[in-house]
Every structure is written in structure tokens, then in C-alpha cells.
Amino acid sequence: MSMRKKVIIFLLVMLALTPFGLISEYPAWGEWGVEEFQTMVGYIPKGMPNAGIEAPIPDYDIGGLSPILSTLISATIGIVVSFGFFFALKHIKIKNK
């Protein structure tokens, strides 16, 4: 099997598996929202709220679409940007190598 063929099959299988990530209702340990910190320690740590940016597709969830479809689209975007990054890196010139 050629490398390209193997890679395409592999990524399609991986893509098809991503909706299984929806089975878990809970976030990773520690990656809680501010309300959960309020419940756990009795206050919201001052530095936590409003930190960071508003992402275009928060939590891989595209509003209005089913979670499975959102996940598959997000995963496809992930594949596209991964390829975009390394194809761009290949063609960017870096001085004094």
C-alpha cells in the first residue's frame, strides 16, 4: 500500500472515531468552568473569569448543528489546518539555516 493511500485510510478511520469523544459528559480533571470552582472551593479565583479569547467554535460545537456533525466538521477543520501548517512551513524561507 502506498504511503498516501495508507494515510488517507488512517485519517478517515480517525475522523470517524472522533464522535466517540462525545460519550464523555465530563471535562478533563481541573478543566472546569468558573461556577464549578465556586461550588468546590467556595469562591471564583479572581484571575479566572474573562481570561483568554472567544473562540469561533467553542468546544468544537457549532451552534445549530447536531453534536456529531459539529464534531465531524471540527475534526475536518483540524485535518485541514494541520496540512496547511506544514505545507506553509515547507514553503516558507528561513534565513541562516
Binding site: 464523555s24 481570561a51 467554535i57 512551513l89
Partner: protein, 220 residues
Amino acid sequence: MHIPDGFISPSTSIIALAIAIPLWWYGIKQTKKLLESSEDSVTFLSSMAAFSFLIMMINVPIPGGTSGHAVGMAVLAILLGPWAAFIAISAVLFFQAVLFGDGGILTLGVNSLAMGFVGSFASYYLYKLLDNKASKSVTFFISGYGGMVAASIAIALVLGIQPALFAENGKALYFPFDLSVTIPAVVGSHMLIFGAIEGLVTVAVVKFFEKVKGASYVNA
């Protein structure tokens, strides 16, 4: 294992970025050499980065109301070398933060250092240590397991030092749980479950790709 913005102090994030930037620079130069080494390398490297992106989306629930995921650090480190693995995982974490709010922008340094640098290099050196001494399955498994546990130690340390360093009137400003909580919770769950998942994923994926022509670029 993605630390969001606001969970650690900006000073912690900036120190991590200051360590990460020169490593990214060196890693990018190493990765460019790999990209120029053959026609197919860009496709293979992109695919492995995409694999890391996808596997991190597959959250596995564990008892205790939390979840976690594999990273693919050992797969990338074994098949591409630790520097390209570090760059690929850093790029993936960047896109996950910017597009999907997973992890953080300011915390990109610390997350890349933990999952990308510590994880990939621990995986790679475990692989080098065991290669030709243990069976392939055992070698790949331990490489994945060890990389994952090493990365979890880094994350647990960074989170766990926050409350002692940054508090006001007895209240933590950022992550409120100290090392006595983060070490067992984060490292413990990775030693028991997620390390093993990473190990199994490593065995399956490296075995699938190891005979692919051009896949073994490792020369670090």
C-alpha cells in the same frame, strides 16, 4: 491536559513562553530539514499532526466524573523524531486554542512544553533505550506510557504551584488546588489509565506505519 487561560498566572505563562520560543525556533529549523528531505515527508508529517489533533478530541470518560485523551506524542516522536513531534503538537495546540477554545493562547507555551516537548522527548528516549532490547510492542507501549506520564507530571506541577505563589487574603487567584491534590489527580489518572491508552495507541499506530516507505525519518 490543556491548561486554559486564567488557570495559571500570566507570569507563569510568560516564563513558559520564554522557554518555548527558542525551542520552537530550533524545532522549526529541524522540521524544515525533515520537510526538505523527501517529497512525501510533508504529507506524512501533516497526517501525523492531524492524527494528534483528532486523537485529542476523543475524550475517554473515567470513574470520578472526569475524562482524558491520548495525545499521540510517542507515535510522532518515534516516526518523525522528537523535534518534529514537538512542532507538530505545538501547532495542533495552537489551532485547538485559537479555533476551538481548547487550552489557551497565553498558556500555549506551557501546554506545548508539557505535551509537546516533555512528552515527545520522554517518549523518544524511552524508545531509544528499549529499541532492540525489548519486543516492539513493549517498546512502543512504554514509550507512549512514559511520555504521557512525564507530560502529566509537568502539568500537575505547573497547576499545583499556583495557589502557594498567587493568593490574596487566603484566596487563590488562579488554580486553587495545590500539589497534594494535582499530583494524585493528574499524574495518578495518567499512570492508571491515560498512559496505558497512549501506550496502546502507540503500539497500534506505529505498527501500522512503521513499514511505510519514508515513514522512518528519525535521525535525531
